[in-house]
Symmetry: C3
Subunit: 285 residues, 3 copies
């Protein structure tokens, strides 16, 4: 099913390999093609320091990487994790949303949508090995996987904290969150813009399981093997049945959602909030 | 958003102050306008002995009171609590539903809808400080807030117990309940007409937190401060995103819902049940 | 409400008693007509060894049995349990889905739908006393009741394990499951085709309560008495309000669902999976 618009966005004449070489900078894709346990599983490792923020380049590379794995019959599952210490992903890159053109905002938002449509609708088994903090868009990536394992360090937190920044999580972030934690937990967490420390995230169902950092990759591989023990076809149809309503909702309102984003982000009050937030981040360094 | 019909119901020529003076009898509204912690928060205290039942007068006063706070830029949050010992609110006033005219039933039901549309759709932060039992419509008021704190006394109970009285909670009571506790808990609790003692109410998610009675107001203020720490605009849009579907459903079926209520409540069998219930209540005294 | 198609399917001229005598072989219906506690409650005991599989005959007998109880004013509740040791029901009879004609598949699937429409939409109080394992369609029967009590033996398991067999649970199995355990638990459990041992089933909310085997019938009777303490009319309307959306969805897509089943089950790859599964079951014996 997930053929959403990808083909149309590929610049005509630009060979895929070029994109790939270009984008190799931000995500490391490792493929384990051994048969048996561990075979057919890819790992996508975010390595875009300092905080794996979701820039247009990162998102494009992510979508292309997922597409390539999706089309690779030898690949049945993918583990998402970070190569940057203490951070899984800090979410959408604020510099892409500040002082740019309407066209840029549209392109950026389409890339965010694209990434989610591919990941949430993936036919592969997707496991998030969350080895650091994961606010906003970083949390969305984890929520879109089939299973979430987080390092049990209470200094790492995860959540859709958009409201803290004065912005609003889009409806499909919300839909994804509600599907994971239910309406009540989502309502409270979204309104408060909560960043849940790992133990609380586990208690609220934001992540499925906590492990010590040194066990994370081993545990992710074990969970992957458990999910891959199922026949692909039945598992994929089941996954699609569970997620189709929410995926279809964005597909049906995609252009409207882009326009909403543009008009919201173009407001002077929002631009001001974002600039202040970026100043604060710079001072922190 | 919550402009639902209020203006249209205001009798032309009747100054608002008149209504207000009249209704001051049933709800005490206190406003803390200090800046800083506690500032911008109103408290609505139900003081309609013996049991804070939701009569037409009470509901009208409640809706007008909420509207005034909503339109007061200095007010960002409201705490709902009771001035009557041991009871938060006993729910809809049965005398309004017994032996009255069709016109009266219509007016009464519209006032119930109005109250819920205003409260569930409020832009303010709403915290229920439940300091007594809270059956049926009283429970609905608590469920419609952003956060529910209940006194941990197991003698106090809360729930949508309509089925016990031989009547059926309307679909929007149900929708509100499902959004708080999920489908399964709601289905079982509604079918059994359960009144959950405070500890069970907490376990099932009907309320968010239990505290000793003497800590209730302090806790409510602390929770309010936590929610008010968020930028209003982002929090309001997020709240609206979570609740819009359920609010819209009543708005779309409002007249139909009134007709349903009238034809249900006008049945001789239902009138008989309600009369018996009132007799029982009188004997209890 | 549940008048779904039953009348139309009754072969003209065939007296109901004939069907009943014929089908008495697979389900034992006992009726306790005493007034007071325990009165007005029927027990349907599955006794179709070796595993109470849901054959066309079993399903037809089940639907007719339910219909008769539904139309019996003296009957207000029904307890479902098994007379076969260690198994509640093994689910759909695979022999009905293997190497048969398109017409047979259609008839069989219509009977599965019919059973669920009657049970999930029943006006009676329905309690599942799960005294053995209950995979797939057996689990659906339990999920469709108002309350589920399971023997606490961890050797007994329950779940919608269709994916393990290479097939996909239909959308209305999924809807029923989501209504009981919520979206997240359902998504994970369906994708993994999990068979939950009793303690895990309880933890995930698949069943409401665990009891020692010797207490099962007593507990089922006590739960039934609790639910029957409510006025029938209000309880029935409340139940219908909670379940109507999901029931209506199958009613609206019934023929389409049958066609989907036929085209899915007719695939050579699926037939092969099912034959292999049956071979495996035979060897187990």
């Amino acid at each position: 099913p997930p053929a959403w618009g990808r083909a149309a966005r590929q610049p005509p004449g630009l060979p895929l390999a070029t994109c790939r070489a270009f984008s190799k900078n931000k995500i490391l894709v490792e493929m384990d093609e051994r048969s048996g346990t561990g075979g057919g599983v890819a790992t996508m490792k975010f390595k875009s320091p300092p905080v794996n923020s979701l820039s247009l380049d990162f998102l494009t590379e992510f979508s292309i990487g997922l597409e390539k794995l999706e089309n690779n019959r030898a690949c049945r599952g993918v583990i998402l994790t970070s190569a940057v210490p203490k951070i899984f992903s800090s979410g959408l890159d604020i510099t892409e949303m500040c002082g740019k053109s309407t066209e840029h905002y549209a392109e950026f938002w389409r890339a965010v949508q694209e990434m989610w449509l591919r990941l949430y609708g993936s036919n592969m088994v997707t496991v998030a090995a969350v080895n650091g903090s994961s606010p906003a868009g970083g949390c969305l990536i984890a929520l879109s996987c089939d299973y979430r394992i987080m390092v049990e360090n209470p200094k790492f937190s995860i959540g859709l904290n958009e409201a803290q920044l004065g912005i609003v999580a889009p409806f499909w972030f919300k839909d994804t969150f509600v599907n994971v934690v239910g309406h009540r937990v989502a309502e409270r967490s979204l309104q408060l813009g909560s960043l849940h420390p790992a133990p609380e995230a586990h208690r609220f169902g934001v992540v499925d399981e906590l492990v010590p950092e040194e066990k994370l990759q081993e545990k992710a591989a074990a969970v992957m093997a458990q999910w891959l023990a199922l026949p692909d076809h039945a598992r994929q149809l089941t996954k699609s049945m569970m997620r189709k309503a929410v995926l279809d909702r964005l597909v049906a309102h995609r252009e409207e959602d882009i326009q909403n984003f543009i008009s919201f982000i173009s407001k002077e009050s929002i631009q001001k909030s974002l600039r202040m937030y970026m100043e604060m981040l710079k001072k922190k360094k």
